[in-house]
């Protein structure tokens, strides 16, 4: 079997193997290390010796043996130090008659790794390692931090999970919805991190965006009735569909209006639209569904001019109600401008600029500049592009904004 196939297979079974070992023997922190070692052993042995008839069983056996070793060493060390480890059994009782308490291990692991006691960077790192089957080196490289830093982050996260004493099962029914929102948010963060990183100078072997899509797909498969999980998967596909058109060969960002739409991934668009269409039929729409619906309208249009802006505006109006994210408000202003003319949009931007923090954000000035340019006020647009460039945080953005300003005549 080629190396890439072995790797795919390992990543796919990794959470099931970890789930089986933790379910049987507990000790999430050590079990996670043991499974990692089993995965590494498999990656080398299977390439030479072939994949065993039951790969999952092989990995579980090897990981369980390794866990026994680790426990023996840990317990011997503790006895030497005369430090007996005891912990309180959590009071939480399982929901009576809740059949789903025995649900898929991948989902349980996601809930564990996205435990609210952990910081978002820890949740992300642990999710990629324990559920995604990535090595610490791979996670570190994907986030451009040193391996030592990532090791500390993961170790600390596992210690926090251990200290929390949470049992290996789905959270109680009444908190599951809230906890699922955290899981989806972590997957969303992994995706946006990967999406931003793809414009960087070097592409890494591990594509975070692809990994996020894979994990979200498994959540959607496990919870097909959950409209927000479907919405998030749709949003990722509809956004990732534009990946090839998003940057020039030299890595410069290409705005949506100027992208070569022939480069968009039609399969992703078709799948994303089918997902979001089905999800929207389920009633009250959450923010991921609304964002996916907006992305779908963009992806369906042949050009900026042919885009259904009134509908995008209406969707942003719903989104603004459920989110206090200033970027959502800013995008809403753009949709207003495209639907009702630049003057209406500029009016919205003017209102948003009353927020002191947003008034200093380059994105507000950038939007204002675009809208002024659309309205034909080139002198004011040029000033606004320069104002945006002064506040921009990175060089490609500054170069882009200054070049926009330079294209405009003085008056």
């Amino acid at each position: 079997m080629p190396a890439a196939d072995v790797e795919d297979l390992l990543r796919q079974v990794a959470p099931q193997v970890l789930g089986a070992v933790v379910r049987r023997y507990g000790n999430f922190d050590l079990a996670e290390d043991a499974v990692q070692e089993a995965l590494v052993a498999a990656a080398t042995q299977w390439l030479d010796g072939g994949v065993p008839a039951n790969p999952k069983g092989w990995l579980i056996t090897v990981a369980a043996r390794r866990l026994t070793d680790m426990l023996r060493n840990e317990q011997a060390r503790r006895r030497r130090e005369d430090a007996v480890a005891t912990w309180e059994l959590p009071r939480q009782q399982p929901d009576a008659g809740d059949q789903s308490a025995n649900s898929d291990d991948t989902l349980i692991l996601l809930f564990m790794c996205c435990h609210p006691a952990l910081s978002p960077p820890s949740q992300i790192a642990l999710t990629l390692r324990a559920v995604g089957g990535l090595t610490t080196t791979e996670v570190a490289r994907a986030f451009l931090v040193s391996e030592a830093t990532m090791t500390r982050r993961i170790t600390r996260a596992k210690q926090q999970i251990k200290d929390s004493g949470i049992p290996f099962r789905l959270p109680a029914l009444q908190e599951r919805t809230e906890r699922l929102a955290v899981v989806l948010h972590v997957l969303y963060l992994i995706f946006t991190e990967g999406y931003a990183a793809t414009s960087g100078p070097s592409l890494h072997r591990v594509e975070l965006a692809t990994e996020a899509v894979r994990l979200t797909r498994s959540v959607h498969e496990l919870l097909p009735e959950n409209a927000e999980a479907a919405g998030l998967l749709a949003l990722m596909l509809l956004t990732d569909a534009r990946r090839a058109a998003r940057t020039t060969p030299t890595g410069e960002l290409v705005p949506l209006a100027e992208q070569d739409r022939a480069l968009w991934n039609r399969d992703y668009i078709t799948e994303g639209i089918a997902l979001i269409t089905a999800a929207l039929l389920r009633g009250r729409s959450g923010p991921y569904q609304l964002q996916a619906a907006i992305a779908a309208i963009h992806d369906e249009a042949a050009s900026t001019e042919e885009t259904d802006w009134p509908q995008i505006k209406a969707l942003y109006e719903l989104l603004v109600q459920s989110s206090d994210n200033p970027m959502v408000a800013l995008n809403h202003a753009v949709a207003v401008a495209m639907a009702d003319g630049p003057a209406a949009g500029l009016e919205r931007v003017q209102t948003l600029a009353k927020d002191k923090q947003l008034a200093e954000d380059h994105r507000l000035h950038s939007v204002r500049a675009h809208l002024l340019e659309l309205s034909g006020d080139t002198a004011a647009a040029r000033e606004a592009y320069r104002a945006a460039a002064r506040r921009a945080t990175n060089l490609p953005q500054q170069r882009y904004l200054i070049s926009r300003a330079a294209r405009l005549p003085d008056s």
Binding site: Y25, G26, N27, R65, T68, D69, L71, R72, E74, Q75, A76, R78, R79, V84, A85, T86, W87, E88, L89, R91
Partner: protein
């Protein structure tokens, strides 16, 4: 009448069986295969004679949680045994006519092939299982 036959091993014995030397030498693959084959035959014979109720082996002693109580709340001690401490490793529940018959059955375990240092110290206990709560009152 029901009896329980209990066998014992320390974590070091488990390590040895897994092929890992400690203060004690490790079992060879042949040692292990001979033991496994003996146990298979032993269990099959008991089952065919209608005397076997159930038999189980337990996972290594390091995989043990001990539940205690502290001010009425449960608390857990992980891996409460010392490495050399002999603890329950497996059991058979047999149903037979007498304590003597149950002892004969357990006695056949003496024929189980094992490395010398293991065979020299191996033993099994036989204990009658109470049929009703009344028995505890004598």
């Amino acid at each position: 009448m029901k009896y329980m036959i209990l066998s014992y091993a320390s974590q070091q014995d488990y390590d040895g069986m897994a092929g890992q030397p400690s203060d004690l030498p490790a079992w060879s693959p042949e040692d292990f295969a001979a033991m496994a084959s003996f146990m298979d035959g032993f269990n099959t014979e008991l089952a065919e004679a209608g005397e076997l109720v159930e038999t189980r082996a337990l996972a290594a002693p390091v995989h043990t949680r001990r539940l205690g109580a502290r001010n009425g709340s449960p608390f857990v001690t992980d891996g409460p045994y010392a490495e050399t401490q002999e603890v329950l490793a497996g059991y058979w529940i047999v149903e037979c006519e007498s304590f003597d018959r149950a002892s004969e059955i357990a006695g056949r375990l003496a024929g189980c092939p094992a490395p010398d240092h293991v065979a020299a110290n191996a033993y099994a206990d036989v204990r009658p299982i109470m049929e009703t709560a009344d028995e505890i009152a004598y």
